[in-house]
């Protein structure tokens, strides 16, 4: 296929030589931002789309009052707590279900039935159990996270090289050692794939869980801004929530790269 434009390929060396290339890559978002600011400042946009400089000043205002930090902290705590609990339970059960056939046979039909139900549907029940506390949101996030991680872990065990387990068994490796030194390292790449899917899901369920049953949180910043007709505050919430999701994913990928550095050696991904 012929290239319509002559596209520069990335220079291999030199941080400064890469600069024009990187600038070109960022062109579309930057142009959109500039147009948004331009049209917004000249009053041609509908009022609910406050322009970037407005959002920045609203962010400053909220950060100065400390409200932004409380809301961010509460959302973060729910997210981290739910993600940690959900992924630990999901991965542990998934590994066991993958290793032991009876457990897998027991879990499969149950998971097949509950998996397609969006876990946010359990929100009324969690509200009944935990009330209007952070525990409700944490539980919803944990529930949403545990299923994809469970499936990823189980699948990873089923796909792993059985010889590794056989060799370890032949050496009479005790079960905990087998689990932590053989099975876990072999299945971590698969588990991380599940964790990434789960992370994206957790943001969707946290949003709804906060809107319906919380008094603080970034999602509430969005609706409160809407209710006060302070669209700059609403968009501050939107930007903050989006950024949080982006940063969380990058963090997870960084952790993955660090944890899996032995596994990724020689796959081409390690050089990047």
């Amino acid at each position: 296929m012929s290239a319509v434009l002559d596209v520069p390929s990335p220079p291999r060396r030199g941080r400064w030589r890469r600069l024009p290339y990187m600038a070109g890559r960022a062109a579309v978002p930057l142009v959109v931002l500039a147009l948004w600011q331009w049209f917004g400042a000249s009053g041609k946009l509908p009022p609910y789309l406050s322009f970037p400089s407005d959002i920045v000043s609203a962010t400053r205002e909220l950060a100065g009052e400390g409200e932004l930090w409380t809301y961010l902290r509460d959302s973060l705590l729910r997210l981290i707590g739910g993600f940690a609990i959900g992924s630990a339970i999901g991965a542990a059960l998934g590994l066991v279900a993958g290793l032991s056939k009876p457990v897998g046979e027991f879990a499969d039909p149950l998971v097949a039935f509950v998996y397609p139900v969006p876990k946010i549907a359990f929100l009324p029940i969690m509200l009944l159990i935990f009330g209007l506390t952070s525990a409700t949101q944490t539980a919803i996030v944990a529930l949403s996270v545990s299923f994809p991680v469970f499936l990823a872990a189980q699948h990873a065990v089923q796909q792993m090289d059985k010889h590794l387990v056989w060799v370890a068994r032949n050496f009479e490796t005790p079960f905990p050692t087998l689990l932590f030194r053989v099975v876990l390292p072999a299945t971590l790449p698969g588990i991380f794939a599940g964790l990434r899917v789960a992370l994206a899901l957790s943001f969707v369920s946290l949003f709804a869980a906060e809107l319906i049953g919380a008094k603080t949180g970034l999602s509430l910043l969005i609706t409160e801004g809407q209710d006060w007709v302070r669209y700059d505050i609403m968009l501050t919430g939107v930007v903050a929530y989006g950024l949080l999701g982006f940063v969380a994913d990058r963090l997870l990928m960084a952790v993955r790269k660090r944890v899996l550095r032995g596994v990724l050696l020689g796959t081409g991904e390690a050089q990047r």
């Binding site: 296929m1 290239a3 319509v4 434009l5 596209v7 070109g24 890559r25 960022a26 062109a27 579309v28 978002p29 509908p46 609910y48 789309l49 046979e105 027991f106 879990a107 499969d108 039909p109 149950l110 097949a112 039935f113 509950v114 998996y115 397609p116 139900v117 969006p118 946010i120 549907a121 359990f122 929100l123 009324p124 029940i125 509200l127 009944l128 159990i129 992370l199 994206a200 899901l201 943001f203 969707v204 949003f207 709804a208 809107l211 319906i212 999602s219 969005i222 609706t223 809407q226 968009l235 919430g237 939107v238 929530y241 989006g242 950024l243 949080l244 999701g245 982006f246 969380a248 994913d249």
Partner: protein
């Protein structure tokens, strides 16, 4: 005899479901957990049948399924086009790859208020949301699958004088199809989740509303009936997609 044996092994594979239901019933009847949190199965089943007969539940199922389906179709068609564009057109990839790959982890749900301003609170904003959420996984899956297509096949096609359209129809799409179908299968439940979540936040139709409303009015039997309906819809949609995928890609296997 063989049929009986097969039925038995099929039934045995599902033994944990009745077991868990039995456990549920025992706990519900023992009163260890309040009947609100865990209503007896009979009540859930009665609520389900009641609302199915009254036409209430089928109506909400239709609304949610229709929205999910519309959003899924729009998002997947756009996603496949964009994915091929990214894989085949260099300037398009140069400019738009960051939008789709860096934008992938950004939670689109945060745009909820903006979508309600743009499309109103009813069906169009739900469809738009589902389409946006389905778009990203399909773009990524199509892009990766299309990139993995062997250069040799493409070169061979070009050597034989294929035009762009023929190349796309007879080489690129068939080669990338399994990957694309995989992406579609990831996108469908995401689309349904988003539709239900947005219905829960603010709507008066759809299964999300049915569940939120049942919870708000303390009708937990109806809540579980709604979950049952969602599970069934999800199962049927996924099976249908798998069935269509098999038909589409049976030449590839």
């Amino acid at each position: 005899m063989i049929a009986l044996k097969r039925m038995w092994s099929g039934a045995r594979a599902w033994y944990s479901v009745p077991l868990m239901l039995l456990l549920w019933q025992c706990v519900a009847l023992s009163g260890l957990i309040s009947a609100r949190v865990l209503p007896p199965l009979g009540a859930v089943f009665a609520a389900f049948v009641n609302d199915v007969i009254s036409g209430n539940l089928p109506y909400h199922v239709l609304v949610t399924t229709g929205r999910t389906f519309a959003g899924f179709v729009i998002g997947s068609v756009a996603g496949v086009l964009v994915g091929f564009g990214l894989a085949r057109v260099r300037w398009f990839e140069y400019l738009f790859e960051p939008v789709f790959f860096a934008g992938y982890p950004v939670p689109k749900i945060a745009l909820f208020p903006i979508f309600t301003f743009l499309f109103g609170i009813g069906t169009p904003s739900k469809i738009a949301f589902a389409a946006l959420e389905c778009l990203y996984p399909v773009v990524v899956a199509t892009h990766l699958a299309s990139r993995a297509t062997g250069r040799e096949i493409v070169w061979a096609g070009q050597n034989m004088g294929m035009t762009r359209g023929t190349l796309l129809r007879h080489v690129l799409i068939p080669a990338a199809l399994p990957g694309i179908l995989n992406g579609l299968r990831i996108a469908l439940p995401i689309g349904m989740t988003v539709v239900i979540v947005t219905e829960m936040i603010g709507d008066t139709h759809g299964l999300g509303f049915y569940i939120a409303n049942s919870g708000a009015t303390f009708r937990y039997d109806k809540l579980y009936a709604g979950m049952l309906a969602i599970g069934l819809v999800g199962l049927v949609l996924d099976r249908a997609l798998v069935f269509i995928s098999r038909r589409l890609s049976h030449g590839m296997r």
